[in-house]
């Protein structure tokens, strides 16, 4: 595949993945508030979030990695110093996605389970990491 086409595919997949990564923690944190039993609306929200993660965010994560690795191989970027911190940061985001999935699993299994309150800052963390990744990829220091 052409390098520019690969780059377009990589960027598109990454944007879709990040869309899910930014709004998921905000909504999950909302579920953690209050000590009452989960309402029907919250259960529906949880179901919709999990469905969106399964059908959109997760495939986008996988495609981001496949296109990204192919791009790096084609462009010979593995000799560049900036690619390694970028890879570490994308690994951090991938692990964070796994953590969100673990939260979905626990929320669905246990009606009394509340996600940790710090999850409300998850979106901010994703945006900070994403900004550094974008900087590394465009400035190539």
């Amino acid at each position: 595949m052409n390098y520019d086409l690969l780059k377009t595919a990589h960027l598109t997949a990454m944007i879709v993945w990040m869309a899910g990564m930014i709004h998921t923690p905000v909504l999950l944190a909302r579920l953690s508030q209050g000590q009452d039993a989960r309402t029907a609306l919250e259960r529906r929200l949880l179901h919709a979030l999990r469905r969106q993660d399964r059908l959109i965010t997760t495939p986008a994560l996988i495609l981001t990695w496949i296109f990204g690795m192919t791009l790096a191989l084609k462009g010979g970027w593995f000799v560049a110093a900036w690619i390694w911190p970028k890879l570490v940061l994308v690994l951090v985001l991938s692990a964070l996605h796994g953590f969100f999935v673990g939260q979905f699993r626990q929320l669905e299994a246990d009606a009394a389970y509340r996600p940790p309150a710090w999850l409300g800052y998850g979106s901010l963390a994703v945006i900070v990491v994403l900004t550094i990744i974008a900087g590394l990829a465009t400035l190539k220091p």
């Binding site: 399964r54 059908l55 997760t58 192919t70 991938s94 964070l96 299994a109």
Partner: protein, 119 residues
């Protein structure tokens, strides 16, 4: 044909539902590309001087191996893993046939995480 389509859709949906299920698929692909590399491409290069096979399969295996490790990390971060299980999953990815031998353990973990009866 329709049965096959239904099976495929269910298989993909199940894999997208749990990180460990997609890790199993990545493990099979990683195992197959490693076998192709070690069992076909490298002998072709060493014995027949045909280096194009390694140049072709090498990067494919590289991407498959990376994806396997990424999905392992994602699965570990989602919870339910013991340290020796993580080490085992990493080590088997370096050995031909390794991920195939590890698959029954992953299948059992997948079922346990979904709350299904484990055989």
């Amino acid at each position: 044909m329709s049965r096959f389509a239904i099976f495929t859709v269910r298989f993909i949906m199940r894999a997208l539902d749990e990180p460990i299920a997609r890790l199993r698929i990545a493990g099979v692909i990683e195992g197959m590309t490693l076998l192709l590399l070690v069992g076909v491409a490298m002998p072709l290069k060493r014995l027949g001087g045909f280096s194009e096979a390694v140049a072709m399969i090498g990067p494919i295996h590289g991407v498959a191996f990376t994806l396997y490790l990424v999905l392992l990390l994602e699965s570990v971060a989602s919870g339910g893993w013991r340290i020796w299980e993580v080490l085992r999953a990493v080590i088997v990815s370096l050995i031909p046939f390794g991920t195939f031998f590890n698959d029954p353990m992953l299948k059992q973990k997948d079922r346990a995480l979904r709350g299904e009866a484990v055989a």
